[in-house]
């Protein structure tokens, strides 16, 4: 068997393992985001949103739905990789992969694929819930699909890097709590940055999540606070930067080898 075929088998094994993990612990991986997002739709979209009125020409519920879908994709693609990879490090069964001839790039890609799978599964679930509350027919389906997929890759890579550096369980909750959540909430999920004073609009432009949320919203509703091209540029820049960093760390053995 050629090395390429062996690598494909190895990658398939890792991705399937990650998928089975997500499905096996579905109460932890799929149900909580579904409940949380349902509450967002009921409270922000339905109860409060009905009093807010329109945003960029759309009902508030319809306006926040793409943002909430992206929020769940971001959180879950990140959370899946950080918990899976750190869990494997903590219990030391990461050694199963490290002693095998599987190249480091495949270990990384396999884990990222697991994060993307969970991010997209949860995103799909939240979309189905959103459809109970509002109409979501993508104006630009390919932009919608590509943006959600690439964003899941970005945050799966970020979760991997977090897991590489983590030494204890506290370390895997610090970034999501103190960095990811604030950036997501301030990333245009609930509002258009045109509502902000000029200074805060400029500050918001430094938040990468703003570009991803708005690009996705453009795919579904056709409106965005930022130019689409810049959003893709930023997403690709993050993917290349984070992939290079994650692979370097893995090859060097940072956090995985003594």
């Amino acid at each position: 068997m050629t090395r390429i075929k062996q690598n494909l088998v190895a990658l398939n094994t890792l991705v399937l393992k990650e998928y089975h993990r997500i499905v096996r612990i579905w109460v932890q991986t799929l149900v909580p985001p579904a409940i949380t997002m349902s509450l967002y739709f009921v409270i922000f979209g339905n109860l409060i949103g009905s009093r807010i009125g329109q945003m960029d020409g759309f009902g508030y519920m319809q306006y926040i739905a793409p943002g909430l879908i992206m929020m769940s994709v971001i959180t879950n693609s990140y959370g899946n990789v950080v918990s899976s990879f750190f869990g494997a490090k903590f219990a030391r069964h990461i050694e199963e992969m490290l002693v095998s001839p599987m190249p480091e790039s495949l270990i990384l890609i396999g884990h990222v694929a697991g994060g993307v799978v969970r991010g997209l599964l949860v995103g799909l679930l939240v979309t189905l819930i959103a459809l109970f509350f509002t109409d979501l027919t993508p104006v630009h389906p390919w932009i919608t699909i590509s943006v959600v997929l690439l964003t899941a890759v970005v945050f799966a890579l970020a979760g991997f890097i977090n897991a590489v550096f983590a030494r204890k369980f506290d370390d895997i909750s610090i970034i999501p709590t103190f960095v990811l959540t604030p950036l997501t909430y301030l990333g245009g999920v609930f509002y258009s940055i045109s509502l902000l004073p000029e200074f805060w609009q400029k500050v918001s432009m430094a938040n990468p999540i703003l570009y991803m949320v708005n690009a996705f919203r453009f795919g579904i509703l056709g409106v965005s606070d930022i130019p689409l091209g810049r959003a893709y540029l930023i997403i690709f820049a993050f993917i290349i930067g984070l992939y290079t960093l994650a692979l370097t760390l893995l090859k060097r053995g940072t956090g995985t080898r003594e």
């Binding site: 690598n7 088998v9 096996r24 030391r92 199963e96 992969m97 002693v99 001839p101 080898r257 003594e258």
Partner: protein
């Protein structure tokens, strides 16, 4: 062909501890080699480097000719590891653990399932294949780690204290299994603190102490270095004492048990003759301690007597 070639291997940890101080070790294909040493001697560090779990500081390691710096994929493909610590995914099913490991080595699923069944049956775990690993006993977890290490049929199997904490029955069944796979051609490197295990299984022995190889010879040659053995004799009838026997240090332990230090140049025949002359009938005889254990202790003790144990900085 050499299964393992290590030259000038050095490892200094970030805290300054020098775990390996330039070791050289070669293991022939088909060998069953014991890697022995006290706790902290450097055995697990050496194994960690061989298996790419620890970064080396200097030196070279080659597995069946594949240098771990030049061709780590080739080196890893030849290797199977049973680590000292349990490192199973405890929430995964037994069969799935073995099949997944095969997948990491690029073995297609159908073939992986066949091999998993074969090794789980051989290691008496097939009936537990659908249990999650957490529900296995300690001995079963160790056998599962052996099955996992063998599923890609490595040419070199490294076992780091595989029988630690395992009861004697399971330990002996593991010995039989290891002998069998060694007879089938798998080269084995075994570290253990049960020196009876090493003496019984291994044909070659390397002793590592404070990061240096202090013995590296065939087992028979190593045991010949044991110049004095202490033998214990059980006597048929109780006696009050025994007169001195020329050339042997003899002492009574209790009225029916006698202990004698026998040097290799004198042998045991003269002692038997002397005991017969004194009308003492010996019912049975045994070594007071395992021979390898005795030699091991003497090697370590002689270093302590010479004050060589002070050399490791930072420990």
């Amino acid at each position: 062909m050499r299964a393992l070639q290590i030259h000038g291997l050095t490892k200094t940890y970030g805290n300054g501890v020098q775990a390996l101080k330039g070791i050289d070790l070669e293991v022939e294909e088909g060998e069953f080699c014991a890697l022995l040493g006290p706790n902290g001697a450097g055995k697990t560090t050496a194994i960690g480097i061989m298996t790419s779990l620890v970064n080396k500081t200097a030196g070279s390691v080659a597995i069946f000719g594949h240098d771990i710096d030049q061709d780590v994929i080739g080196a890893k493909s030849c290797l199977g590891l049973v680590p000292q610590e349990i490192n199973l995914n405890l929430f995964e099913k037994v069969q799935s653990i073995v099949v997944t490991q095969a997948g990491y080595y690029g073995i297609p699923r159908r073939q992986a399932l066949e091999r998993a069944e074969r090794y789980l049956r051989e290691l008496k775990l097939w009936d537990r294949r659908d249990d999650i690993a957490r529900n296995l006993s300690g001995g079963m977890k160790r056998r599962l780690m052996i099955a996992r290490a063998l599923v890609h049929e490595p040419r070199l199997l490294i076992l780091d204290e595989p029988t630690a904490g395992v009861d004697i029955e399971i330990r002996r069944s593991m010995w039989r299994f290891l002998r069998k796979i060694n007879d089938q051609g798998t080269t084995i490197i075994l570290t253990t603190h049960y020196l009876e295990e090493a003496e019984s299984l291994c044909r070659h022995v390397a002793i590592i102490d404070e990061g240096r190889i202090i013995v590296n010879d065939p087992m028979s040659q190593v045991l010949r270095k044991l110049s004095v053995e202490t033998l214990v004799f059980n006597l048929a009838e109780a006696v009050d004492g025994v007169a001195a026997i020329d050339g042997y240090a003899v002492r009574m332990i209790d009225p029916t048990t006698l202990e004698a230090d026998v040097t290799s140049d004198r042998g045991v025949n003269g002692l038997f003759a002397a005991l017969s002359e004194r009308g003492l009938r010996v019912v049975s005889m045994r070594n007071k301690a395992n021979r390898l254990e005795e030699l091991f202790m003497r090697l370590v003790d002689s270093k302590e007597e010479r004050g060589e144990h002070t050399a490791v900085a930072g420990r």
